[in-house]
Each structure stands twice: as structure tokens, then as C-alpha cells.
């Protein structure tokens, strides 16, 4: 018997109704990164319906999704598969599952720490920190140099005025602080 606690948890977290899926495959047919995925969004939804939690949390696919939400825009049943994958990432992170793409988690964390501090993204800091953390120092250098010459990469971060507002957003949405509903 499938684990319905899991589908309920994913439904609640993603605010979707996964049972409605026709499995028409339209989401997968239009997904721009499906080539990089093992299952693709439709099979991911099927696995949620079957309650295959472990397999899903370990999957590469949930980190490959770029969140463009093309799937959700096209779904006949208004299921946003992208949000389902987001919910699966969140569960994987919170439950310390064996994450398939640790680099992606690092990237997300650097990105968020920068936004938390300055209220804005700062590309130079993001790149520097990400390179230091991953020890992948020299990739993408020519592209970065060209962007710098064109003035697209400001050296100094700009800081917004009311950073307390940003802090409130972070406090309210931090998954480790927020009570995650596991549904029942």
C-alpha cells in the first residue's frame, strides 16, 4: 500500500493536488532541462503518487529543475510540477537525505546569505564565495572577464535601505525555523 503520508506532505508543501495528474506527459514534453533528468517531471509525479520517498529524495532530478514553471503553466490540471520538485528539495534538505547535487545546495546557501546580508544579489561576491567553497577556481573565467569589461559586474555590492524588512522575510520563511507540516 503506498505511503499516503508522503503524497499528503508533498501536496501541502507544494500547494498542489498531485492525484489529479492525467500523466499526459505535457509537462515533460515542454521541460527545457528534461535532457539532464533521469525521470522527468511526469515520472516524478508518478513516484510521489506511489509514495517512493527515498528514491525521490536521492534523485538528481529535483536539483536539476531550474524552476521556470513551464510545466505548471501548461498542465491541464493546474499542477505546478516545478513547485512539487521544490517541495521535494525542501524535504531532502530538512531530513538530511543523501543529496545528489551538494554543489547546488551550496550555491543556494551562498545566494541566500548574500541576499540576507545586503538585500540584493552581488555577482562578484557570489562567484568568489562559490569558487572558494567548491574549490573550482578557474571555470568560466573568460566569460566573467568579458562581463567585467562591459561593466556588467560591479565590484562593490549595493545595499538596500530597510534591511530589517529582508530579515523579517527570512525569519518567516526559514525552513529550519518554520514548522513544516507533514500532513496526515
Amino acid at each position: 500500500m503506498p505511503d499516503f503520508n508522503f503524497i499528503d506532505q508533498v501536496n501541502t508543501l507544494s500547494e498542489q493536488t498531485i492525484e489529479l495528474c492525467y500523466h499526459c506527459h505535457k509537462c515533460t514534453a515542454g521541460c527545457p532541462v528534461v535532457d539532464q533528468m533521469e525521470y522527468g517531471p511526469d515520472r516524478i509525479l508518478r513516484m510521489v503518487q506511489f509514495g517512493e520517498k527515498e528514491k525521490l529524495l536521492k534523485s538528481d532530478d529535483i536539483w536539476v529543475c531550474v524552476g521556470c514553471e513551464t510545466c505548471g503553466a501548461r498542465c491541464p490540471n493546474e499542477i505546478n510540477a516545478s513547485r512539487v520538485l521544490g517541495a521535494l528539495r525542501e524535504i531532502a534538505y530538512l531530513e538530511n537525505a543523501a543529496i545528489a547535487e551538494p554543489g547546488a545546495v551550496k550555491f543556494h546557501r551562498i545566494f541566500l546569505s548574500l541576499v540576507q546580508r545586503t538585500g540584493r544579489m552581488h555577482e562578484v561576491s557570489l562567484l568568489a564565495l562559490h569558487k572558494l567553497w567548491t574549490l573550482n577556481l578557474f571555470s568560466d573565467l573568460p566569460a566573467g572577464a568579458r562581463l567585467f569589461m562591459m561593466g556588467k559586474v560591479p565590484l562593490m555590492p549595493s545595499i538596500i535601505k530597510r534591511r530589517s524588512e529582508v530579515k523579517r522575510i527570512f525569519d518567516a520563511t526559514d525552513p529550519k525555523k518554520k514548522q513544516v507540516s507533514h500532513g496526515d
Binding site: 503506498p2 499516503f4 503524497i7 492525484e19 489529479l20 511526469d42 508518478r46 503518487q49 490540471n77
Partner: protein, 583 residues
Amino acid sequence: MSRIGVFICHCGINIAGTVDVTAVVEQVRKHPDVVFAADYKYMCSDPGQELIKKTIAEYQLDGVVVAACSPAMHETTFRRAVASAGVNSFRCECANIREQVSWVHQDHKEEATIKAVAISRSIIEKVSRNETLEPITAAVTHRALVIGGGIAGMQAALDVANAGFPVILVERQPQLGGKMAQLSGTYLNFIAAPGMLLKIIHKVNTHPNIQVLTNAEVKNVEGYVGNFQVRVDVKNLDQNPASAEQEAIQTPSMVEFTFEVGALIVATGWERYSQALLPEYGGGEIPDVIDGLAFEQMLADGGRRIRRPSDGKVPNEVVFVQCAGSRDPERGVPYCSKVCCMYVAKQAMMYKERVPGGQPYIFYIDIRSAGKGYDEYVQRAMTDCHAIYLRGKVSKIFRDGGKVIVWGADTLSGRSLEIAADLVVLATPMTPDPGAVDLGQRLHASTDANGFFTEAHVKLRPVETLTAGIFLAGAAQGPKDIPETVAQASAAAAKTLQLFSHEKMTVSPLVATVTAELCAGCGACVLACPYGARSIHPLWNIATVNASLCQGCGACVVACPNKASQVHNWRPDQIMAMLDEVL
């Protein structure tokens, strides 16, 4: 000598653009029987028809030929005009010089004109020999007989009875209700089927215009539309139908009645598919493998009867197998049974409601939920009761200890599945009543390869049979659910009432006749007639024609070795004269 007027139509440029219409007028005028000939732009227009009427009066015409379009188009128009001017409408014919001449010979104008003259002259020959005929009228018995007391038959009976006509409802079983009486609930509204049904049964039983005969069977049908004689055998001696025409013939166990009726409605319903035909699913062998109708009985009474047949335990995992025997031309029946997708969704929901901890699994090939609110209903089964839909046909079902093992697949995720179930419900197809083929022969109503009654036209006449006056309602014609059955039953009742709206039927007089002196009573025409209109007179030993059934097709004319059979206004002398003109 006839006095015939010929009218050549231009049909705008449709005819006149190719055929030299004035030349045709000149040529036909030479025929000795033609006293008037003219051409006109549009004969079917009001002035065109007026021209015919005026000319009839002026020239004392006794026959009219309109050389124009196909008779299928405007024969009725011109015959009506001729009749209003006092000439028998069967003395008017159309010569088809549009479809058969101008439209097909646009590049050969001279030859087209010659052909138009030949066709017109051949029709002149025919009209000069046409008899004056009057439409045949036949009485209509304003009483209907419905075969089958399920939801289809009861609905049809009520509709006819409510319009004020008497109905005899014949049911083979001891009580009314049919298969619907075995259902625990219906989909869409969940209202218990027995409750709905009891109201209808009560209405039927108390209706002053409906005579219910249970334990009864139709044994023989004679006659034709408007005038059937139906023999019904009734087992129960207590029933005494007041409307029986003939004196009842009684035997100790059975009473035989004959009814005069004008129309018959066939509502013989459906029968269960034998599970023994599904050995790969353990059908008829594994006690915990049952069919949909058996599960209906378990779901009734608030679910107290949801118990495994083998050990009486409440089943916690139930597997439904859709298309069990249907859509399987190799081993089962080729057709889709249409109702299973919906009733399986309903059963899954009702089961979940009664056994909250239970889990329904549904194997399907396609989900066919076409109908108002149907697809939304199936989605409710998926969302509200977590029915697991698995796309794939089950390959094998067998017993393992107390469990029933189901081997199947989920093609959506591309994997094989094995489910250890407590109970398996096979959604087997609706099949026609086993007596349908036999009854069809008695009614002269055909059945198809699967044994369902055949409708007269697959799209445009879905409630009629090819035998006039016999109509179809419900699953007798093919698998259908309750709303569709009720709709068809009401449609069959409407067709019946259309027949009953006339005191007398009018039938075309263009039917076969027999020249008694020539007939040898050989019976070749009886075999040739596709409408059952011929019979050999028991006393005189010659062929007779039932004009109400005859369609004037001429099969008997060809079959008759003595040329005793003829069709009015298509006699051999007419056809020979017509041929002389065109050859």
C-alpha cells in the same frame, strides 16, 4: 391516348447552360401523346408550379412530365402541384436531365441535348401508361407492447402511458426492476439505486394505462406496423389481462394471451459475462475473484456485506480489473462495455467510504469517462479516496495462501507490479440477453455479431429497427448506462407516439400486385421478399401481398417465373416502352 404536358426546366444555367432546352421542347412536342411542351427558368418556383396548374386547366392535361432535376429533389413538389389542379399525382413524373445529363456531360452539349430528349420521351412513355393510384390507408392499433421490465422498458411504458395510450409491459422475471434492482448505488449522485427504482416501479404498477405481466414471455409476433398480433405466455395464473383480444388458452402452469398492438418496444437489457470465460483471471475458480455486479451486492446495506467470499474477512486491499473480457477480440468480446470505467470509480469510492482503511487499486487500459460530469467524478475517486489508478491490463491472477496475487503493469512508470490483494473485482462486459437472437428472429428485427439488436441507421435512426413499428430501448441495443438508457427509452416512446398520433397510416400505393390467373403459388416471391410482405394464401394457393409491409423494391417481380408479380406503375410494358425510347 393521353394528354400529356411536358415542362423543361432551365434550372438557371444548371441545365440550360449545357442542354439546348428549346430543342428539347421541339423534339418532345413531336410525341403523339404530348399536347403541350414549354421551357421555363425555374419549374420548382411558385410561377413554375403555377404554369403547370394553368396549363392543366387550359389543355385538359391528364399527365405531366417535368424534365428537371432528380425526382429525389422535387417529385413531391410537382406531384402536389399537379394534384391541386385535379390530376392524379401518380400521373406526374420527373425526367432527370440535370444530375443524369447536364451535370455529367458539360463538355458534350450536342450529345447532352440528344440524351435529354431520349430521357424525357421515355418518361412520357411511362406517364402515358401510369395508372391513377390512391395512397393506401391502414388502421393503427393504439396500444403498445414493451418487452422487458427494467429501467428501459419501464421508462418507455410510462412515457407512452402518460400520453394516454394503453401499454402492455411484459417481464420474464417475477418482478420488475431488471438489472438496476441489483445495483447498490449510481454514479454521479450516489443516491441508492433501489430507492430511485422503487418509485418508478410503483408508478408503473399503479398506472391505469399500463398492464404489467410478470413471469411472461413473448412467444410469437405476427403482423406489421400498426397491426401486430403478439402471443404472450404467462406463467402466473393470477394475472388476467383485460386487454387480451383472444380468449386465453390455459394449461395448468401457463396462460397464453394474444394482444393486438400497434408498436413494440424491445427493452430486453443485458446479461452478465460468464467469469468462466476468464481463466487467466481465476474467474469462476478463485472465490475471492468476483464480478462488478457481485460487488454491487456487497456494497448494499451500508457495507455490512463487504466480506471476502472465502473466509468472510473484510478485504483491505481490493484490485479492480477494467476491460476484463471486453476490448479483447481474441479471448472475449471486441467492444467497449462503456459503463465500467464509471462504475468502478463509483465502487472504489463506495468501498473506501465503507472501509476507510481499505485501499482500492484500479487497473485500466484507458479511462473512458465521456459524459457530463463523468471525468470530474473519476478525478474525485483519485483525489478524495486515493484510489490508485494503474495503467495496464492485468496478465494473471492466482491464489497464494489467503491472498489473491495480481500480476500487472504500470505503463506510466514502465514497471511490472505484483499486488497481494484480498479481493479482486473483474469489470466484465455487458453482454446481450441470451434470448435476444431468438427473439430478434421472432420479431424480424436483426441482431449484430455480438447479439445486440441492430438499429435502423447507426447515426440517424438509433432507436428504430429495420422493421417498421419495432423500436429499441436500453442495453438491448448496446452497452449503455442509466441516463443513456432512459433517454433512448423516451425516444422509443416518442417514435411510438408519432405512430399513434394518426388514426390511420398512409402507405405509398407503389407496391407489388399479383395477377391471380398467372400465379402458380410456387412461393419464389415469398423467399425473395426482404420485408416479409409476401405469403401464399392458405385457401387459394396464390401469392398475396401485404401492402403495409411492401416497399415496392421489385425483388418479387424478378423472382416470379410466370411474371405474375408486378409493381404498380413499374409494369413490364412500361419499362419496355421506356427502353424503346432510349435505345
